[in-house]
Subunit: 382 residues, 2 copies
DNA sequence: TGGCATTAGTTTTACTGCAAAAGTAATTCG
DNA sequence: CGAATTACTTTTGCAGTAAAACTAATGCCA
């Protein structure tokens, strides 16, 4: 029989900071935590002991560092002491994952959406949550990522792709599942996942750009996400990147949406070749040297590069993280991208640190799970 | 006889926070400070009393608020208890101001530069500092703003307009004047002035764009300036704002430098009219409806608007502050600017809060003085 | 092999700085 | 004129901290 896990008790303050430090920065010794949080060694003993007794932290076996002195006893969180569900809602369906406290995916599932009616959608989500929760002892919290404006971590203010406005999805799901639920904008969720557990971990600032069905943008500065009331609208979708590019439905010429989305690239290649091709096929053709595909992909890469240059120039991040389902473009058009960056970057600037995350669909779900984790770990005051 | 002013003793911690709150947020009651810093009323008595006894703060006469209850006794800093000098260094000369602790200008002076030799320049600056310091009892610190890369608040790493690199201007001036000296990039200084005492006061985030001899950009997010090792290079000077615009010396078509600087506008208007005109005359002609000038100014305004849209989209600031010697462009081309903003902003976004600061040359000097004030008030740990 | 240096972590102690609570002050409103 | 309200002060006790002394576990070196 499994002993019930105690709640994440640490209230805001040094005790919570210690727990967070361990959660985010992996196994870490008491002395290292003391250095980072600027606390005395004595305080660290005092603060860590109750966390260990509560079963939240454990001492892992010491690693031999080869240095002189007593070896450290790194602390780590018991990652599978709690589990979370993260879901990504799109127009066609829902994809979901179960994760542990460190946002490692332990199960995956999906469901189709027949209707856009809020109640029907909530029903599908709840059913999926039940299915995902079956593989773990208990689910601590549920996070849902959605492309649109979300307020109070609970209400979908506006989600054009579902034709929703002011839908209290959070409450609906909490009622249906009995699991504490947070709703969040998908890019915010993705960015927070990179922030806590991804390529942005430990950085003071970074920017995120996602490629896929749409173009997403997130920013962390001074170790905190940058948001305002317009976040979630999709501010960079119509970013002008090529004055001679194709038109988008809103009448912008050569905007990000008309050149960088998967649909834009497949359409441009399909039109040029006179036959329907998929996204991966379009990129394959470019790799193989097919001239039209190559040109479309290079134009996109160059535009992407100029967009990255703009982000770098205006927000001076330590790193730029590229992600999303369509991120393979970065591999295929890397050279064009770097040319695009060079066009709009002063040659005296330092080289940009650009990393691409896996373009797996479940990354969006992990993001939603991270929002649930944050909400749980930090308390209601997110 | 004037009693010697005690040093700004508060060491980092709540005491310093209280002093800062009063310095930046004007006369403010103890209870209001307690609310803002999340301290108890008792703590505020304890913390403010020694600051008052030290002569740093004073109680100003209460303002009648009409509300019930005991009236508050607002605290204020003794602004003219200390004075600072701020200077702006350009290729032709130096402009300087003397200010009080709140960066109010109390004197102005300038000097020409005959030579770009570091020692000669330092001599001119020191002489100017002596002149500026004559009107006040004593000078607490000196700040110098310079268009280029500055490290450690002391060394001019690179200043192309003076053909300087690795000039230890800070030490040179401290030796020559005996006044603690800080060197800082001019845009950083300008932005900090807005942050503490200008249109950015009290905001969590804002962006600054200056127009003049060059294009400057500064950003504050989460109440702190955003900088990295590339800040000071002038990252936005070559921002592409019009694919059909004129060429800049670096070969960029329609970049900010080629369309928004004073030189760009006067040149474009002069060329069109076949005679030399100055900046103000060019703007006057545009106001009067002269077609070529109108077109040049409107093109610039539109480009400025698109640049503002880019800043707003990527950094979601609460406010955008426009400044610099050439800021009159904003008045003359306001309509075109707003059209440019609308082009690249999603119509669903909230209206941007845009303010223009006076285009006085001395604003740059105030900025430098603010850096000196910050360095003094916060201690060496800036 | 034993001492020494080094680093990690614990225990003890004393103290700072805080909030909470109770008290005082100064005003408006009825 | 007193009740309500808000601002500030004084008093008190306590929680969390650092500092110091101590224990522990390793590598290094003679």
């Amino acid at each position: 029989m499994r002993i019930a896990t105690p709640p994440w008790t640490p209230s805001p303050g040094p005790s919570q900071s210690v727990a967070l430090e361990v959660l985010i920065n992996g196994p870490i010794s008491r002395s290292e935590i003391a250095r980072r949080l600027d606390l005395s060694p004595g305080s660290l003993t005092r603060l860590s002991t109750p966390l260990i007794e509560a079963g939240l932290l454990v001492e892992v076996e010491e690693r031999v560092d080869g240095r002189a002195g007593r070896p450290s006893r790194p602390l780590d969180v018991v990652a599978d002491s709690r589990h979370f569900i993260g879901m990504k809602l799109t127009g066609n369906g829902v994809l979901g994952v179960t994760t542990d406290l460190r946002a490692n995916v332990v199960a995956t599932a999906s469901a189709a959406l027949d209707s856009r009616d809020p109640d029907a959608v909530a029903g599908v989500l709840a059913e999926l949550a039940t299915r995902l929760g079956g593989s773990v002892p208990s689910v601590t919290a549920l996070g849902v990522g959605i492309g649109g404006l979300v307020s109070d971590h609970a209400i979908v203010t506006s989600a054009p792709f579902l034709e929703w406005s002011e839908v209290a999805l959070g409450t609906m799901l909490e009622t249906a599942t009995g699991i504490p639920t947070v709703i969040e904008n998908d890019i915010v969720a993705f960015t927070e996942a990179e922030h806590w557990f991804g390529a942005g971990r430990g950085l003071d600032s970074f920017a995120v750009l996602t490629l896929g069905a749409g173009i997403g943008y997130g920013l962390v500065v001074h170790d905190r996400l940058v948001v305002n009331e317009d976040s979630g609208i999709g501010l960079v979708g119509h970013w002008p990147i090529d004055p001679f590019g194709p038109l988008c439905p809103a009448g912008h010429r050569g905007c990000a949406r008309s050149m960088l989305t998967q649909a834009a690239i497949t359409q441009a290649v399909s039109t040029a070749l006179g036959r329907e091709v998929g996204y991966d096929e379009a990129l394959d053709l470019a790799v193989a040297g097919e001239p039209a595909a190559r040109r479309v992909v290079d134009d996109a890469g160059r535009g992407l590069g100029r967009m990255i240059a703009a982000m770098a120039n205006l927000t001076v991040p330590e790193r730029i993280i590229l992600g999303g389902e369509g991120v393979r473009l970065v591999d295929v058009a890397g050279e064009a991208m770097h040319r695009g960056i060079a066009e709009d970057r002063d040659p005296r600037t330092h080289k940009l640190d650009i990393v691409a995350t896996p373009g797996d669909d479940t990354e969006w779900c992990r993001g939603a799970a991270v929002i649930a984790i944050q909400r749980y770990v930090l308390g209601r005051r997110l």
